[in-house]
Point group: C2
Chain length 284, copies 2
């Protein structure tokens, strides 16, 4: 049955699919110098933020993405205190990071302040840690910030970016990853959203190569569901300066002092398991 005007649709180039949500009304529509930011009130997904026509977050299921961008990397690092989030303007990843009592400082660097303003209005629950004294929100160029960061000054970098087209593209470059590698302390870790394992396997392969070129050692991918993104199946790729990423602070994850909705220690193990086609393509 065709979709009438009561639907928002995002078409996925390359794979020829589309995801749509039935909308009640548009509640936000502004343009920044960088992007077009819209928020819809939907029938089943709560609020839905759309940037340049691409779905970003929904009330219903953003917990899947935000928990998986924050907790696996933070429980893999032995003692994460200094964290930077590149992108992440909706502030949902920041909130998850600051659930970790050991984190002393988390800087979120998103070039577009409009995304955070829209989130404060329509996703206030994602912004509830914005006033935490450990949080620093900067609205400047993340690449430049990373290039100017003091060497060895970060424990964890989370690249919570849009797709590798448009403003997000440079965040997938070897140059940017090299700057990240330099900014990390010796036991530092990076995690970056890495698109759909089914639709974008070539991108993930390229990312592994670029992490290697940038001086990272072990590289591993986390798999998790993501209903509003192409194929509904998503990934984030972890890389470390030294050591294995297979092990994590499992006892700490089992006794974590905060609630989650998707992540737990068993999910951490499960998310690292490679489907057979991925294992054959990437190795491991």
């Amino acid at each position: 049955m065709p979709l009438d005007d009561n639907w928002f649709s995002e078409q996925h180039a390359g794979i020829g699919s589309a995801w749509s949500a039935r909308i009640k009304k548009k509640v936000f529509d502004q343009r920044s110098p960088y992007q077009h930011v819209e928020v819809y009130d939907t029938e089943g997904f709560g609020k839905l933020m759309v940037i340049d026509g691409c779905t970003m977050v929904s009330t219903l299921e953003n917990f899947l993405y935000h928990e998986m961008m924050a907790h696996p990397v933070l429980f893999t690092h032995p003692d994460p205190r200094r964290v930077a989030i590149i992108g992440g303007g909706d502030c949902g990843t920041l909130r998850e990071v600051l659930r970790h009592p050991g984190v002393e400082h988390c800087t979120q660097i998103d070039i577009d302040e409009l995304v955070t303003r829209a989130s404060e209005l329509h996703f206030p629950e994602l912004c509830e840690a914005n006033d935490d004294p450990r949080a620093e929100l900067l609205f400047i160029d993340g690449i430049q910030w990373m290039q100017q960061a003091e060497a060895g000054s970060l424990d964890v970098i989370i690249v919570d970016s849009t797709d590798p087209v448009g403003p997000g593209e440079v965040l997938f470059s070897t140059e940017f990853l090299t700057a990240c590698q330099r900014a990390l302390a010796p036991d530092g870790l990076i995690v970056q959203q890495s698109e759909s394992p089914l639709a974008h396997l070539d991108l993930i392969q390229a990312m592994y190569a670029r992490f290697g070129s940038a001086g990272f050692g072990d590289t591993r991918t986390l798999f998790f569901p993501q209903p509003i993104y192409p194929t509904g199946w998503w990934s984030a790729t972890l890389a470390g300066r030294h050591g294995s990423l297979q092990h994590f602070r499992e006892a700490d994850a089992r006794s974590k002092p905060f609630e989650t909705r998707y992540y737990n220690a068993d999910i951490h193990h499960a998310a690292l398991v490679q489907p057979e086609f991925f294992r054959k393509a990437i190795g491991g």
Copy 2:
């Protein structure tokens, strides 16, 4: 951007989302006494079978579903020889079952022969085991067949059905599950597709109660991606007459004499892991 006439769309009631595929042309369109069966040639998903407006299988990603309906249950049973598939008319699950050399007989009972005829024409790769001497294809009422099956005559039952509305609804009833329980040998196992963990948690909770009422013991859910179904995240629920479903023939799974694209022994473990919200709702 709105979708023009070059798209097939399925709307998902309840959750207010829709999944669409850009189509080249419709290549099959017939009605049986039971259902309306269509096949589209799509831009990115290969062929796409649609029954009564709901997506069933696509060339691109059916391996996810068919492997997860067949291999976990077969590697959990100690020695599966006699298998029945209720539904499954596209024959993809049958093909996966017959990859197991120990299976002596597999009966596929789908009420609608038209589904198999459409699959033979447009998904020939899924039908490549239909001529296996161990395969028996019946086009009759699966509930009646199960009620008349000899007690204790089956090792594994796979309920590969449509959604629990329309013809598939009765397959989710306690009456049908009781007939399955009776037809299974003492160490027999059943697996049934159980919809989206995110959109249909209440259905899965009801299934657990019905498996219990039907006399099954341990009940566990497998989670896996399913791009063309609502939310892109799907599940199948396993139940056994006796014993635990946590353990499986892991050594056999690691040395399986056939290729897979998604399933492997580690994926088997990972698929059984409960996300935190599911664990809180269902227990375990």
